[in-house]
Subunit: 231 residues, 4 copies
């Protein structure tokens, strides 16, 4: 019965990923962390969303050891573990192969901040981390994927609390947030922002980034000290 | 029990916005006005459409004072108030972040009138108001957003009774009409017109605007003194 | 009770148009003809598909006189009448503002025959009739729309029995067939063919038209004297 | 009662094709083979998916002779027979006119391997076989279509066990796998990969193919001797 609540939260967030149309088949996974116990719950590898049950969720610690569960955890588990270990305020992580997000990743380009929909959630372009060097791919791949993400943020001086999403070049998006639900929310927002930026650039290849005053205004309406959006 | 009918009209128009796929999460809002009482009903800020109840709708006057309601009104309330105050024949206003409409706004381009679908509803390109000057953004932002819209119409000599929609540069669309339902209708039509113009220009970048005779014919079939469309 | 069967066929084909996602609101209409009685059934003007009832369908003769019905017929009725009068083997006609079909019409371009999906249905590019001359628009517009279509076919030497669809420049598609159901089928096929040709040209602007041997083979598998497709 | 299980497997895979949105009307077919008996089950020609019943499925041998069934088999039956005869480890075959897959076929271009979604399933670009020579089209067309596919694989040195999909130039995709269900799965994956590559190239026409180390890593995570994806 241990971890029942954590498994349920992880289970529901995984179903939400599917219900939002962000994944086909088993192309994605969500995890939810319990900081007090030093473990996280994650989707089992290769299990269809339709067949997934709360008790199938696997509990893993930050050293990638299975704490509870009969199934093999997601093949991306080590990436989640690295992010939880390094970014201490994250409560949940989502990974998808959502179409427009992946398209930008395959284009190896940051998603430029083009409008207020983007600025309502973050003040930066969505970073696209470069594909890894060959020796890192051939080594501990999923662990190194986590390092690739945190290195990208370190090099660019980005704060994971303010930029809750990244594209892995040629792969796809990882998003996070206070909870698994919030991580899924950021996957959905990212997909929409990716689609809007794609279309805007198709209409007008010279369309500029959003001006700084609008970036600040929209972000602070929702996130700043004097935020006045929501209840 | 006061304002019950007004709240109900506003509530249903907000649900319609969601049912038509024009919004995700809380990215939009609809209001409905009662001219006799000098108030309008508007969606509360940041409340999910799935959770929204008629009694959650907030009643506000044209000076942005809450007349009735326990929740904070939409963060865009001042824009609605300004438009109601200045454009006296409007009955309802809708704001969305619908994908193709936003894409044109992010491209900072008017949507050219390319076909009869567009001319069935308006005879002009859909205007895209320029992003605001920084001091207006940093000031009373949502109020100034309203001014930006009415200034755009004044400068271009447009009549809000004939052009029931506008794009805010880098932000997204506002639409209006005799009622909240009609405002939502115009949001849906705008999204379709935005998509058609996008595709037409992708197919043929040199495709011309619709000829004047067809613009007049189609608009007057539906809206002119001798309209013969509908019952 | 007269015309009950004809109205039912027309009603169901109109609902199918909506169910297939080819129209929003009231942006389309289907008619079904009874050659023996010299009348056709057509959707009433501006009535929502959700509210439409079989008894609302209007019966009109080829001189555009209402034979039975309490509602005003579709504003495009005269176009239907002209086509029925001139093309004697047509059993039904459909008109939509479906997105990709309209996009090609707004681009004022024929849809090139690019693949076997197209050739399974017709051996020619989908013709895009030029927008009408101003005096024809300002005159008996819907009647002249019909003439514009038949003139286009005459000038190009096309046979309406082999090319069951046309685009009106800057407006949208008309399709037809042995029955109202078949006319709707052709609207759906046209929309798919329009989308495939759009995408193929975006991927490879130099992509050639389908070679003649494949055009003939695929058309004749389904339509020739020795057709062997279907039961 | 013979072949009941085989017909059921074929029937369900055909319905899945439809449920996944990969076909409209009758534009596709799936077959399932029974190697021990030297026959395969295939969809009857031109029957709507909504009307299809398990007992409608036709049983055919590798010489295209009907073994059981009252309906005419798919017009593409000879293509299936050729592939089963030549590629001895295939358990099922699917053919669709899915939109993005067809668009690349109409563009007459291989789908470049641009990301890990692609590499999770195959290590090569999706091959686009050239349209056939005229005498092959005018001859035993569907049989020759099979030859066109196996010749394409032979010329390029591709192994059908590692590349479970092909585009026929100007026509559309054929996919296969251990079972009919797996063939349909590959049709769905192909459509997604086709869409992602299309969008990536629209965003960045110079976007490179996926680097070799990532191709190998992702393919071997799922398919190699040391695969660790799934349960």
């Amino acid at each position: 019965m241990a971890y029942q609540e954590l498994k349920r939260a992880c289970y529901e967030a995984n179903l939400e990923l599917n219900a939002l149309g962000l994944v086909i088949y088993t192309f994605g996974n969500v995890s939810a962390v319990d900081r007090d116990r030093g473990v996280f719950a994650i989707k089992p590898s290769g299990v269809d969303y339709d067949a997934l049950r709360p008790e199938d969720i696997v509990i893993v610690d930050f050293d990638n050891q299975i704490v509870e569960g009969n199934l093999r955890p997601s093949s991306d588990t080590k990436t989640h573990a690295w992010l939880y270990r390094n970014w201490e305020e994250i409560g949940g992580i989502a990974h998808t192969h959502a179409t427009y997000s992946v398209a930008w990743a395959q284009a190896q380009m940051d998603i430029p901040i083009m409008g207020t929909t983007h600025a309502d959630h973050l003040t930066e372009d969505v970073p696209c981390a470069a594909p890894m060097r060959d020796e890192l791919i051939q080594g501990n791949y999923e662990h190194n994927t986590g390092i690739q993400i945190t290195d990208c943020f370190a090099e660019r001086g980005l704060d994971y609390r303010e930029v809750p999403m990244v594209l892995l070049g040629n792969h796809g998006p990882f998003t996070w947030g206070d909870s698994a639900t919030k991580a899924v929310y950021h996957s959905r927002v990212l997909e929409e922002v990716a689609r809007m930026a794609y279309l805007a650039r198709q209409i007008n290849p010279a369309a500029p980034r959003l001006k700084e005053a609008l970036i600040r205004k929209h972000y602070e309406r929702k996130h700043g000290r004097n935020a006045y959006y929501g209840q």
